[in-house]
């Protein structure tokens, strides 16, 4: 169906992203592409429909065949009816405003008769379970719904191959499962060939027939269990299997659970979670936020002690971001009080507020505006009125290999986050608030971020992290607060809240049962 023959690609000169790739994907196969951030997964995906090199530029050697026909030199539009490509952020790729029009767009380009279009739109709406959304504006849909519409929009062209770039990265666990279940059904029912690139592999691996690992300029293909043995990226369940010495490696929670008895016997009692109860840094009472008539946050109480990391979870749109902005004092509260170190940041001067609470927003790059890393750091020192070099020192601790002369936009997602975090931390705020910081980070990147946040906590900062990533929250948070519809629905120690919830339980906890949450915890108990 899809074939790469001795393909090499370089964006500039002979700086090969990867070289001599041979790859053959058959009909009705679901393939997961994985690798570290910046390893060239997305580039590989773009090859299949001509986006690379047509849109990105670069040098391509070798041959790419779709259905036995070479597609070299063909622009993406000429392949639209064979290869359906779903970009990472569905909203920015939408060309119309209403679900129905979006589904029809591709067919209009193909010039299909009106009758066929009407029929296929109806069929696709049913296939993806979005028939009740047909007239809804695309912007008003939830993230999971948008993703399903984006998939539907390419399905109406009846492609043979579906390529998905990080389809679940912005979704909460339940919505992600919905989307993946839909994709798996397409493979079963329609015999589609599906290629998915995804950082959070644990979600996709149970569905994958084969794994494409992109690493260090080469690409290897194999059965998931075999390919994962030495893969540089691996989900927690595989890490657990490696730790326990299981062979072959378990790929699903069900497989692993059957073998857990011997592992459980080897484990000591887990160390009781350390209670880091310092003085209260944040005391929020009855915080409410309203947009016109819509209440985004309803009477939320939240306490954070010095040295504590609090994870904030909940569906997309449950009011997490609004709450964080309200804590920062940058979002008008409809009611309630916020005290950080005893005072309300909303009533302070901008400088004082920054010294109390530092917020890293979802689109962290919004904070950056200068040409080099050195300039950004100098500006941060200047604004916080601290000795020069403070920000650079922080950055070196977070991400040591960043050069002074680098442009902030050229940094990788993780490095940019580190830069923004250093800038925010320069004024050494009592409370550090992060909104969805793991987007685009691979497992190693998340581990580094976890270490940074634990380090901050150890220095007496309070930390609040909003995230969809259960594995990350399990590793980083001492306490977890779950929000729904703007209200707090549960709160407590991470072990209790996460392990008890079916949708928020991390893989280790699903396998071994509470109170086990993370691989490092198990590793600790094995010794």
């Amino acid at each position: 169906m899809l074939e790469l023959r001795d393909v090499s690609f370089a964006y500039t000169g002979t700086d090969w992203t990867w070289q001599h790739v041979d790859l053959r994907l058959d009909e009705g196969e679901l393939v997961l592409a994985c690798g570290r951030t910046g390893s060239g997964k997305s580039t590989l995906l773009g090859l299949f429909n001509g986006l690379v090199p047509h849109f990105t530029g670069g040098t391509l050697a070798g041959d790419v065949l779709v259905d036995g026909r070479s597609i070299l030199g063909l622009p993406p539009r000429e392949l639209a009816h064979v290869v359906g490509f779903v970009p990472q952020d569905p909203l920015s790729g939408f060309v119309s405003d209403v679900v129905e029009d979006e589904l029809a767009y591709g067919m209009e380009q193909l010039g299909l008769p009106a009758q066929t279009m009407r029929r296929r739109v109806e069929e696709t709406l049913d296939l993806l379970g979005i028939a009740d959304l047909r007239r809804r504006p695309l912007r008003a849909l939830s993230g999971g719904q948008q993703q399903r519409v984006a998939i539907g929009a390419v399905l109406t062209m009846h492609p043979r191959v579906l390529v998905l770039d990080e389809p679940t990265s912005a979704l909460d666990p339940t919505a992600a499962e919905d989307v993946l279940a839909t994709v798996a059904r397409l493979v079963d029912d329609l015999g589609l060939t599906v290629v998915i690139a995804e950082h959070r592999m644990e979600r996709v691996i149970p569905f994958a027939d084969r794994l494409v690992v992109v690493h260090d300029g080469s690409v290897s293909v194999g059965e998931p269990a075999a390919a994962l043995v030495d893969s540089p990226v691996a989900p927690p369940i595989v890490e657990l299997g490696r730790l326990a010495g299981w062979d072959p490696l378990p790929l699903s929670v069900r497989e692993a659970r059957r073998r857990r008895t011997d592992l459980l016997a080897r484990l000591r009692e887990p160390a009781p979670p350390q209670v880091r109860a310092g003085d209260a840094v944040l005391r929020a009472r009855g915080v409410s936020v309203a947009y016109k008539s819509f209440a985004a946050v309803r009477e939320v109480d939240l306490d954070v002690a010095a040295g504590e990391v609090v994870g904030l979870m909940g569906r997309n749109g449950s009011g997490k971001s609004s709450l964080l902005w309200a804590l920062r004092g940058a979002q008008k509260r409809a009611a309630g009080t916020v005290e950080i170190g005893g005072d309300d940041p909303a009533t302070m001067s901008a400088e004082d507020a920054r010294a109390r609470v530092g917020l890293v927003p979802q689109t962290a790059a919004d904070l950056l505006y200068l040409e080099t890393v050195a300039e950004e750091c100098a500006a941060a020192d200047d604004q916080a009125a601290v000795p020069s070099g403070t920000c650079r020192g922080l950055l070196d601790r977070l991400a040591p290999e960043i050069g002074d002369a680098q442009h902030p936009r050229d940094l990788s997602e993780g490095q940019r986050l580190a830069l923004v975090l250093s800038v925010v931390l320069t004024s050494s705020p009592l409370l550090v608030v992060l909104d969805e910081p793991t987007r685009g980070l691979d497992y190693a990147g998340k581990a580094a971020l976890t270490a940074i946040l634990h380090d901050l906590a150890a220095r007496g900062h309070g930390v609040v992290v909003a995230s969809h990533d259960v594995e990350f929250v399990a590793e980083v948070a001492d306490a977890v607060v779950v929000m729904a519809e703007g209200e707090v629905v549960s709160r407590g120690p991470a072990a209790e809240v996460l392990a008890e919830s079916p949708s928020f339980a991390p893989q280790v906890s699903k396998v071994l049962g509470p109170p086990w949450l993370t691989v490092p915890q198990v590793r600790e108990a094995l010794r």
């Binding site: 539009r77 639209a80 790729g93 971001s321 920054r354 917020l359 904070l367 500006a379």
Partner: protein
């Protein structure tokens, strides 16, 4: 009336009509009325969509243009004669001989001020009409209504139009993020602080959109023979030539009217034929196309009526349309009544399909977006 979105072409015709009317007149009362009519219709019929937010920016731009025009007239004064009413005595800054003919400051005459003011109002009205169309018509649906042959060009224009409203959204978000970091002490820094992230954001979005459209088959080439291409090319060239002659003849009062009308008519006809011929090779179809119904016809008609009406009024009574600069402008009730026709769409068109306020995006999305 059932709520539905009007054909975007209808809004654009309406706006172009109003803008054309604005170019025909210098009467401040008439111009202000055009401002008011545009604003009224936008208020009545815009949706909650992001492009609708941009109207405010256009209003500020229009006001800025008026102020700038007047300030220019004050700074670059004109030599006053004895007959002129002098409003303001300012010291004249002597300029070297090389800059003769340019006067810095000096006496400000009423005529200069008024002509600057009227001129600014006119330019502002045109800007405002474009802004109104941009706020009312969904740019992405406008793209769907372009004749097939112009599809590629249409998209380039539409993407350009799309960036501006999205900028409004970006500015809101970046501005909000700005207070998370100290504001730079230097003046240029403040501007940079907002402009750099916003522009980068806009560029990135446009690239994603372009990629998404291409990946879904936008602009697939059809098959055209060399002969067909030749026919299309010749038709287009003839159309262009005829239109040029027609427009020239229309603007040049000494040219015969027949040449103007004939040129324009031949030009439009051959252009239509050329577009049809070029469109035949494009294999595209439409899913539930927007139809022209009564409300669309009324809207477009209202705009065109205003343009024709003001043009005719000038022929009948030039001073009511282009008033003298030596006193209070004459106001003709007829001209005002004609411009009021432009407000019809605020009352006779159906409301936009998504009712205001009921479908506001969730706050998380507001922050994401």
């Amino acid at each position: 009336m059932l709520a539905r979105d009007l054909h975007p072409g209808a809004w654009w015709l309406w706006a172009i009509g109003l803008a054309a009317a604005a170019t025909f007149t210098l009467n401040p009362v008439a111009l202000l009325l055009i401002w008011a009519v545009a604003a009224l219709v936008v208020m009545a019929r815009r949706s909650e969509a992001p492009w609708a937010l941009s109207f405010r920016l256009y209003v500020f731009l229009a006001i800025f243009i008026v102020v700038l025009r007047v300030v220019f007239r004050i700074v670059f004064g004109t030599a006053a004669t004895d007959a002129d009413v002098i409003v303001l005595h300012l010291p004249e800054i002597p300029l070297p001989e090389a800059a003769r003919g340019i006067q810095l400051l000096g006496d400000v005459t009423l005529v200069a001020l008024l002509s600057g003011f009227y001129d600014g109002l006119r330019l502002g009205a045109i800007v405002l009409c474009v802004g109104a169309a941009n706020a009312l018509a969904n740019p992405k649906r406008l793209l769907k209504s372009v004749p097939p042959a112009l599809y590629e060009v249409g998209t380039a224009v539409v993407v350009a139009l799309t960036i501006f409203p999205q900028l409004a959204e970006s500015v809101q978000r970046v501005n909000r993020a700005r207070q998370l970091r100290g504001s730079p002490r230097r003046g240029v820094g403040v501007l940079r602080r907002v402009v750099v992230p916003v522009l980068e954001d806009a560029l990135e979005r446009s690239m994603t959109l372009a990629m998404g459209m291409d990946a879904r088959g936008y602009g697939r080439s059809g098959r055209a023979t060399a002969r067909e291409r030749l026919v299309t090319g010749v038709l287009m060239l003839v159309a262009l030539f005829a239109l040029c002659v027609g427009i020239y003849a229309y603007l040049d009062a000494t040219a015969p009217r027949a040449l103007a009308v004939g040129g324009l008519a031949v030009g439009l006809l051959t252009a239509a034929a050329g577009l049809w011929s070029a469109g035949r090779r494009v294999e595209r179809t439409r899913y539930r196309p927007d139809r022209w119904r009564t409300a669309e016809l009324v809207t477009a008609g209202a705009g065109i009526a205003v343009a024709i009406g003001v043009d005719r009024a000038y022929a009948l009574d030039p001073f009511a349309v282009v008033p003298g600069l030596d006193g209070w402008p004459e106001v003709s009730p007829w001209v005002l009544a004609i411009i009021m026709v432009g407000a019809l769409p605020a009352f006779v068109t159906p409301p936009p399909a998504v009712e205001r306020g009921t479908q506001s995006p969730s706050p998380e999305e507001v922050v994401d977006a």
